[in-house]
Subunit: 326 residues, 2 copies
């Protein structure tokens, strides 16, 4: 996976780290992680369940959020898109009668168009991401979980099924979720390098991402869950739930929709068969014992990533927890 880092390097000095990633939470965590370990020793395996065609181009929200964030180009206020982008394209499309609830910036669109033209020429999604992150000077390896289309579908209580982006952006993430359909991911193939990266990892991390629609699709792709279970590397999750609510995003209705309690404990239970350690926020310290009772080592820390330093401290906590693995 990373020819520069020999497989037998000391884990304490610079372990090979594989991070399972959604969008904003994962990207901010990675920004901290690469302060603690060399960026080139980190492989981000990224959810593609949110990917969709908009305006004729292949939009890959989580891959782009991770790439833009690590490249220092992200619009930090939004958490997605490119800093200082303009919106001439969607505004014009709107005037021409298109639905434009997905507000893709002009430069962001150019990136998606570039990818689309490359895909049309037969390049793989992984290759397009690798070329882009190299062009942008990002040393962290970024792998799509799959090159197959893996749309995450959200089934509402009224029987309507929506693509995740329609659920999230167009509909504003309504509460009435009955279930989440990951059948596309369940019949997909892991992307190039994904299983190898997991097999070679010395630390596995579940970023503080949505367990249902970010980490969920990753784990649904055949082979990924088994590779995690087969790995001797410690696996640590960082709770995306603080004080009974997600830090960001629509985790509440989605967790409820799949029958998971919306708490740091609920998510720990959800991940328990896969992970060894669990990082939770100080606000949830009262849950630590119950989480330990699941057989997990724990670390309680301030998990709100107000800046890259804070994200670095959180990453350090996760790595230290991994390093104390028996």
């Amino acid at each position: 996976m990373n020819p520069k880092t020999p497989g037998n390097s000391s884990m304490m000095s610079h372990p090979n780290v594989v991070a399972f990633c959604g969008g904003v939470g994962a990207a901010r965590f990675l920004r901290g992680l690469v302060r603690e370990v060399p960026a080139e020793s980190v492989t981000a395996i990224v959810n593609t369940g949110d990917d969709r065609e908009f305006y004729g181009v292949h939009v890959a929200p989580d891959l782009d959020i991770v790439t833009y964030t690590l490249a220092g180009l992200i619009d930090d206020a939004q958490g997605y898109g490119l800093m200082g982008d303009t919106y001439q394209l969607v505004d014009t499309l709107s005037q021409l009668g298109h639905e434009t609830w997905f507000r893709l910036g002009d430069r962001d669109f150019a990136h998606c168009l570039h990818r689309t033209l490359q895909l049309r020429q037969g390049h793989g999604l992984s290759q397009t991401i690798a070329e882009l992150r190299e062009k942008l000077g990002v040393e962290t390896h970024i792998l799509p979980m799959s090159e197959s289309p893996c749309p995450t579908l959200v089934e509402l209580t009224d029987g309507v099924t929506l693509h995740f982006e329609d659920y999230m952006i167009r509909e504003g993430a309504p509460d009435r979720v009955r279930s989440v359909n990951l059948s596309a991911a369940q019949s997909a193939t892991p992307g190039p390098g994904v299983l190898q990266a997991i097999a070679q990892a010395q630390v596995l991390l579940f970023c503080p991402s949505n367990p249902v629609v970010s980490i969920g699709p990753l784990l649904a792709v055949p082979g990924i869950r088994d590779a995690i279970l087969a790995s001797p590397a410690p696996c640590v999750a960082i709770s995306p739930i603080v004080g009974g609510a997600p830090i960001k995003g629509p985790a509440t209705p989605l967790l409820r929709g799949i029958g998971v309690e919306v708490s740091a404990l609920g998510v720990a239970r959800h991940y328990a068969d896969l992970i060894d350690g669990y990082v939770l926020d100080t606000k949830d310290a009262d849950l630590e014992e119950a989480i330990q009772d699941l057989g997990l080592r724990t670390r309680v820390t301030d998990s709100i990533m107000v800046d890259a330093q804070a994200a670095g401290r959180l990453a350090r906590a996760a790595l230290e927890l991994a390093e104390t693995s028996p």
Copy 2:
């Protein structure tokens, strides 16, 4: 063609006019023409030989120049594109490694993308143009000469063959033209409504457009030349050559390439079998007699369209020449 204008209306009051059009020269002429006759009685039949895919979208330069000009949206200084447009998209594509010598603005791109998405859904090019000009409040009928791809190819003396856009924009219209290849247009089908519009016209006008790469492709589409010859309507051309040089654009090497003298007389000879009248500039008054000797009625006037009023006067001259038809 135009259900609002009965076929038997007095030609003197508001004739059905069909104008054969390239890009900038034609668009400026049309802006004058619709000051002289009701816009809805004019049908512009527009060259599509310049059309090409750029950045994954269908670019139709002449159709867009005509539409944007009549809608009052044209970037007048450039003669193409949308007033006040931005260039985030091409600038970003350039950073990502694309050739971006074709500088398509962001809003202009959105229009081309809209058309591309419509074409992909099975709409015809004519339909997309009709919908757009209605949306923009343009009452002039605008018809693509054909819905078949009709790329105009320019063959250089060194044996290289270039698409017209590559010749014109990328290469800067070099002199070394051996010939112009219109074989695609020669095997195309006229667009919906084209032959009917010509058959119903009471005046036919050749706009002051490039005779080789604007009017040439139009006349190359099987059926169009015959429809002009079969029409009882007077046909008047406005010379695009003033004082031995084109008003704008690369007509000189292209005319030479097809063996036509670069003069108002040369173009008159080139069109002589199709037209009844010819409008030439005062600078070329010395050529009037030679042009009359071709069997053409003539009108000498100031043909430089410095503004819409001047274009209106030029259009009036052409219409009056048509109206004096025996």
